[in-house]
C-alpha cells in the first residue's frame, strides 16, 4: 500500500491535486450559481418582476405599504385599502402567514400552483371558485374592492407579525393591529369574562389544531371504524394487548401502539385530553418524534394505532371515529359530529380575533378588509392550502358554511 501511494504521489503531486480540485470546485460553484440564476429568472417572476413593472416603486415591503397608503386617498367605492396587519401566536402564524403571502402575490388564474389552474396542475378546491380574476382580486372584489388586475399588487397588502397568543390578543384590543392571532381563547389569554369578549371582539376560527387517532389498514379492514374514548385510553395505558379484547372487535392481532416523543407538546396534550391528566401513565410499544415517522410505521405494520396530524393520513393510515360520552365524532367532514369539530376533545380552535369598532360597517366586528382576507381562509381552497398543508385540522363543512354566512352582510 505504501509503495502504491508512493507511486501515485510520483505521478500526481499534492499541489496538482489541490489545484485541480480547486478548479473543479470553482467550476462547480459557477455552474450552480448560473443555474440558480436561470431558475429564478424562469419561475419567480412574481416577486422581482412585479415590483419592477410597478415602475415608480423601489423595493420590498415598505414600498408595498406606501403604495397601499397612497391608494387609500384615491380609492374608489369608499373602501379602505390600507395595510392589513395581524400579529400573535406562533401556532396560528403558519396559516395566516401563508395566507398573507398568497394574498400579497396576487397570483393570476393561469398560475396553477398558487392560484387557478393550467394544464399541469390546479389548486385544491378550484372547481368551486372557477374565476378568471387574480387571487386577491377575487376575494377582495366580493367585498367591494377594485381589482388591480396586476400580479404582486393586491387590492390591499397584508402583513403578519409573530409574537405570542396573549400579545396578539392585547394588540388587537389596543388597536395596534387589525387581527390578533391566538391559539387559546381570548378569555383565557387576557382573563376576560365571556360578556366582555362578546362586547369587544369577534372570534374568527380559521382552523383547528389537533391529533386525530389513526389505525393501520388491516385494522380498518377488520371492521374497526370507531372506538370509544375509554377503549382508546385502555389501549394507550396498556390495559388491553389484543384487538379482540375490545368489545365488539373480532380481530385477533396484537395492538401495536405508537406514541409520540416523551414529554413533547403532542404527547402532553394527548395525555391531558385523552387520558385525563398531563402526567397520566402511558404504555406504548414505540415512540416517534415526527408525523412522517408515525405515518410510515402505521403503513408498514399490522395492528397499529397512533395519533398524528391529519395531513399524513392516506389509504394506508386511516382516521377513525371516536365515541365520547355518547357523541360519535366521525372522520367524514360532512357528518353531524366530526373529528374536525371544536368540541372533539383532541382539538383546539385557532383564532383570528378582530375588534368590534364603530366605524366598521354596521358597527360590527370586521371591516371589509378583514372580512375579505378572512373569507379566503373559509373556502375549500384556503382550508386545504393554508390549514391542512400546515398539518392543522381543516374546519368541517358545517362550520365553514356557518362562518362564511357571518361574512355575507359585508359583501357587495
Amino acid at each position: 500500500m505504501t509503495q502504491d501511494s508512493a507511486r501515485l504521489s510520483d505521478r500526481v503531486s499534492r499541489r496538482k491535486f489541490l489545484s485541480t480540485t480547486a478548479v473543479l470546485g470553482a467550476a462547480g460553484l459557477a455552474g450552480c450559481g448560473g443555474s440558480s440564476d436561470g431558475g429564478s429568472d424562469g419561475s419567480s417572476d412574481r416577486g422581482s418582476d412585479g415590483s419592477a413593472s410597478d415602475g415608480s416603486s423601489g423595493d420590498g415591503s415598505s414600498d408595498g405599504s406606501q403604495a397601499a397608503e397612497g391608494d387609500t386617498e384615491t380609492a374608489t367605492g369608499g373602501s379602505d385599502t390600507s395595510l392589513l396587519t395581524a400579529e400573535g401566536s406562533s401556532t396560528v402564524y403558519p396559516i395566516s402567514n401563508k395566507g398573507s403571502s398568497y394574498w400579497n402575490s396576487n397570483a393570476p388564474p393561469s398560475d396553477g400552483e398558487y392560484w387557478g389552474s393550467n394544464e399541469e396542475s390546479s389548486v385544491p378546491g378550484w372547481d368551486e371558485i372557477e374565476t378568471d380574476m387574480l387571487l386577491a382580486d377575487y376575494f377582495a372584489s366580493q367585498f367591494g374592492f377594485e381589482p388591480t388586475e396586476q400580479r404582486s399588487q393586491a387590492p390591499f397588502q397584508t402583513t403578519i407579525g409573530l409574537s405570542h397568543s396573549g400579545t396578539g390578543c392585547q394588540a388587537v384590543v389596543d388597536g395596534l393591529v387589525d387581527i390578533g392571532n391566538s391559539s387559546g381563547p381570548i378569555t383565557a389569554e387576557l382573563g376576560w369574562s365571556e360578556e366582555k369578549r362578546d362586547d369587544t371582539v369577534v372570534d374568527n376560527v380559521v382552523g383547528r389544531d389537533g391529533q386525530p387517532v389513526v389505525v393501520s389498514k388491516d385494522v380498518s379492514n377488520a371492521g374497526v371504524s370507531q372506538l370509544s374514548g375509554d377503549q382508546i385510553r385502555q389501549i394507550f395505558q396498556g390495559e388491553v394487548d389484543n384487538w379482540n379484547e375490545l368489545d365488539g372487535v373480532d380481530y385477533d392481532k396484537e395492538i401495536y401502539v405508537i406514541g409520540r416523543a416523551e414529554g413533547s407538546g403532542t404527547d402532553t396534550s394527548f395525555r391531558l385530553n385523552m387520558l385525563g391528566d398531563a402526567d397520566a401513565s402511558m404504555e406504548v410499544d414505540t415512540r416517534q418524534g415526527q408525523n412522517q415517522q408515525v405515518a410510515q410505521l402505521v403503513s408498514q405494520n399490522e395492528g397499529a394505532i397512533a395519533y398524528m396530524a391529519l395531513a399524513f393520513t392516506s389509504d394506508q393510515v386511516l382516521p377513525i371515529a371516536i365515541d365520547f360520552e355518547g357523541t360519535l365524532y366521525e372522520p367524514d367532514p360532512d357528518a353531524e359530529h366530526t373529528i374536525f369539530d371544536s368540541d372533539y376533545p383532541l382539538n383546539r380552535d385557532l383564532h383570528m380575533y378582530t375588534l368590534i369598532e364603530e366605524d366598521n360597517p354596521d358597527g360590527g366586528g370586521r371591516d371589509r378588509r378583514e372580512a375579505a382576507f378572512m373569507n379566503m381562509f373559509l373556502t375549500q381552497f384556503g382550508q386545504t392550502v393554508f390549514v391542512e398543508q400546515n398539518n392543522y385540522i381543516p374546519l368541517p363543512t358545517s362550520d365553514l358554511e356557518e362562518f362564511r354566512s357571518r361574512l355575507e352582510p359585508l359583501k357587495e
Binding site: M1, T286, N301
Partner: protein, 377 residues
Amino acid sequence: MPTVTDGERTGLQTRARRQAERFRDFVDDTSPEALVTMTVIAVSLLAAFVGFLLVSSLTVVPFAVFLLASGYGWFRHQEETALILTLTTTVSTLLILGLIIVFIFRESIPVVQYESATVFGVSVPGLRMFVETRWDAVASPVRYSMVPMIHGTVMVTVIATAVAAPLGVSAALFLSEIAPDVVREVVKPGVEILAGIPSIVYGFIGFTVLSPWASDQFDLSGQGTYLFVGVVVGLMALPTVVSVAEDALSSVPESMKSGSLAVGTTDWQTMTSITLPAAFSGVSAAVLLGVGRAIGETMAATVMLRGVPRLTEPLMNVFYGQETLTSLIARNYGEADGLQLDALFVAGVILFVTVLGISIGAQYIEWRMRRKLGGEV
C-alpha cells in the same frame, strides 16, 4: 521487590531531573526577547481562554494580544514561536477534552442525586438508576433507570461484534494472505469506501426494508428488533475491522512466514500458527475498534429501535428492540428538559466511561503482546 520500586523511583527522579536540566538549558540558550514573546503568547492565550469561560466581553483583548504576539514572534523568532504554538495547541486539545468530561459529569449531578437509593441505611447517589428498571419521565413515579439502555447497548454490541468480528477478520485474512494483488488493490479501497456511507443510509434501509420484513417473518407486534439493529451496526463496523486487521496482518514480516513455510507447513498452517498469532494485537485492536463503533452508533439505532426504554422479556429476547444509550440521547434531546435532560447526560457519562475502558483495554492488549513477542511485530 523493594529494589525494583527503588529502581523505578530513581529512574523517575533522574528523568525529572533531566527534564528540568533540558528546560534550564533551553532558557539559557534562548534570547530573552524570544522568551518574553513566548511568555506573552502563552499567558495571553491562557487569559483569553479564561475570559471565554467567564463569557467576558474583554476576551477579545488578550486574544488580540495573542494574535499580535504570535505575528510578531513568527517574523522575529520563528523557531520559538512555532514551538510554543504547537505546545499550546496540544495543551488546548487536552484542555477541551477535560472540559467536556467535567461538563457532562456536572450536568448529570442533579439526576444522580434524585436517583439516590438507600443501602443498609446509607444513601448512595445514583444507585437507583442501576437497580430499578423503570424509565418514565412523565408519569409518577418518575424514574430514570439506565438499565434498559445499558441492556440495549450490550445486546446491539454483542450482535454487531458477532457479525463484524468473524466476517471482518476472515475477509482481512483473505485479502492479506490469499487474494492475488489485483483483487486486493480493488477490494481494499472498496471496503474503505463502505466505511464512508453515512449511518442514516443504513438506518433508513433498516427502517423501511429490514424491520417490516422481520416484523412479518417473525410475526412480531410492530417493528424494531435488537437482532437487525445489531446486524446493520455490525455491517457498518465491518469496514473498520477489515481495514485495520488487514493492515495488522500484512505488517507481519515476510521472513517469519517464509521461515514457517521452509520447515514444511502449508499456507493455511502458516496463517493460523504464525501470521494470526503474530498479528493478534492488531487484529484484536481492529475488533475493539469495531466494538467501539457499534457502541457509539446512533443514527441507525435511533431510526430502527422502538424508543421505549424497557427490558425485553426474557432478557436475551433479541426480537424486540427498545433503546440504546446513544439512541436515547438522539431521540429525546429536543424535547427533554429538567431532570430528563440531565438523565441524558448520565447516558453520555456511561458511554464515555465504556469507551474509555475499551480504549484502555486495547492499549493493554497491545502492550502485553508487544512484551510477549518482544519488539515490534
